[in-house]
Symmetry: C2
Subunit: 358 residues, 2 copies
Amino acid sequence: MSKQTSPKQTSPKQTSPKQTSPMSKRVKARLVDVARDAGVSPATVSRAMAQPDLLTAETLARVHDSARKLGYRPDGMARALASGRTMTIGAIVPTLDSTIFARALQAMQSALAREGYQLLVASHEMNPAAETEAVRTLLTRGVDGLMLVGAERSQDAAMLLRSAGVPVVLSWVGTPECAAVTVDNELAGHLAARHLIGLGHRRIGLVVGHLPFNDRQQARLAGARKALSEAGLDLPGALVSEQGLTMAGGRAGCARLLDLGEPPSGIIGGIDLFAIGCIQEAQSRGIAVPEALSVVGIDDIDMSAHIAPALTTVMIPTARIGQICAATLLAEIKGERRHEQVALPIELVVRQSTAPAR
Amino acid sequence: MSKQTSPKQTSPKQTSPKQTSPMSKRVKARLVDVARDAGVSPATVSRAMAQPDLLTAETLARVHDSARKLGYRPDGMARALASGRTMTIGAIVPTLDSTIFARALQAMQSALAREGYQLLVASHEMNPAAETEAVRTLLTRGVDGLMLVGAERSQDAAMLLRSAGVPVVLSWVGTPECAAVTVDNELAGHLAARHLIGLGHRRIGLVVGHLPFNDRQQARLAGARKALSEAGLDLPGALVSEQGLTMAGGRAGCARLLDLGEPPSGIIGGIDLFAIGCIQEAQSRGIAVPEALSVVGIDDIDMSAHIAPALTTVMIPTARIGQICAATLLAEIKGERRHEQVALPIELVVRQSTAPAR
DNA sequence: AGGCTTCATGAAAGCGCTATCATTCAAGAT
DNA sequence: ATCTTGAATGATAGCGCTTTCATGAAGCCT
């Protein structure tokens, strides 16, 4: 609590407040300094930076010269306060420590950077309260738009978002009241299950992420369940294992399923990482994939095509989600569109980890 | 270029500018509104938010009541402008789309969030100019601290950083002029190579990332080269393959090395992903790992322990790097320390992907 | 040539908050 | 009783920029 001296400049009151005091070594040049140097008004300098086409080529050049000479760099905060725009987009994801979200954010970041926007990220580790807090902080902090993952969230968070009046885009799973860039997660589960069913598998297990506050995994599970039920197959609780979203989780889930009295002949991983973990676990037990056990994933992460056997999976266009989120948000900010709904196609990619049931 | 109406409120001039106009439905409550409602001065409200212990319990309560009643949320931009602090830390990484950096950022983000700071991220995709640009944007945007990866950067970027006077912490590789949280990448390469040499391998190849603007990979390669030379071994150019930092790159690099007239009996991956790719490539060619080919990685990513054979690798405490970067930056911001240098220990983790040379 | 645009610029009012300094009042010191 | 002192609060000047609105100087038309 002991902060007397402003961290910015030695002493704002000791140097003469305005005019060129002989040796005032002001650390940062301000807009007015440039204006004075160039012999124009502050307004002109402001315009030179933001709307150059409003000025004579000559004044523009003069301003630019002065700016360069003084090493002027505009102050984002002041600009934000005066204009109401922060040139910052917030993104709240479950975690950065996941190929999926990291990849989407990377794509989003690139797309935003091209338009001069920055990405402010927060994560909530699958904790609704933490998400609410993140929403609050980012809104307070000031963002021109906000990207969120999934449609499910706390009342408080929803209210904050509504009252803030900031453009929001939902990703992976959406709601109609809000712009959204989605994929059909239920279809993903459905495709995966149908593929196994089509290969003659009758006993199918799943390894999924913890379901609370994860509507992506919920939908994928629901889709698989639906496909099974359509085929007249049962999905007892024992054949569904909830695990933390790591490869170790995949191995553990697979182990649980294989240790069952009547183990499945096909397993669906709610994410590719699970599926890859399943393959490793099976192989380490001497169970051949796909001969003795078929494994399907969902996501199609980078690695899936490169492991042995290459993973059959449902491709989710992760990077495109991020990229389109950025575009959607920017469009909404510019007022070009409202509550745009983009549904991205997904498809089954058959590789070597699945085979007909014996 | 056509933005007439302020996006914030319907018309700042139509509502009476200051006092309680009867039905002025101002969208956002300001600090002065709270002050008026609570019957105190703006300064008191400000203090109520920032230094509650300076106020009577009674006034504090009154202010809080009014704030809640009006749904007041402070404006971060105004606060930043007035105080000079943004409560934001910038991080510039090569890419988010990498387990390593994503993991470090996740740890950093968590640590920062605990202290009320937000993470502003940018990436440069291994492009020095892009990094410079990112530095410029983040500094302009206003950050209280900045995390960068590696010590190598453009003159321009270095100058910007110096002149900005913002606390900076370097990660993975550092320089003495600047706070840094580092690991000894050269040692990492050295450990990996020495391990293979100790197992009797005489012909050792490497798959490394593209070296320009990547001092981590440079150092790892240098360390391996040093170990080899200490053992009287040669490292011809043909045995070093530069690849993009993906698993596919690892496979490709491995393929190149194995296709050599005299292929290596041991391969070091500059990152685990390469090593894993190497294992896959070898296995897909019917070359047994570790019996016919030993593979070592560097990083010890999550997955490395779970593949078959489990990867022998040099453990880099990625998450801790992020976490300590956050701590270092916060300490520097508070003025507690300056240019602190933290070197994190690394160690060889022997698993199943390496075996004595035949 | 006079009036009407259009264009380039200037003047100045904030944006919403923090921080400094001044003020008040009550309690302890003399 | 008078003087200090300190704690709680108020008044207010900016922070550095954007953005109307106003102004003067050309350009254009009839």
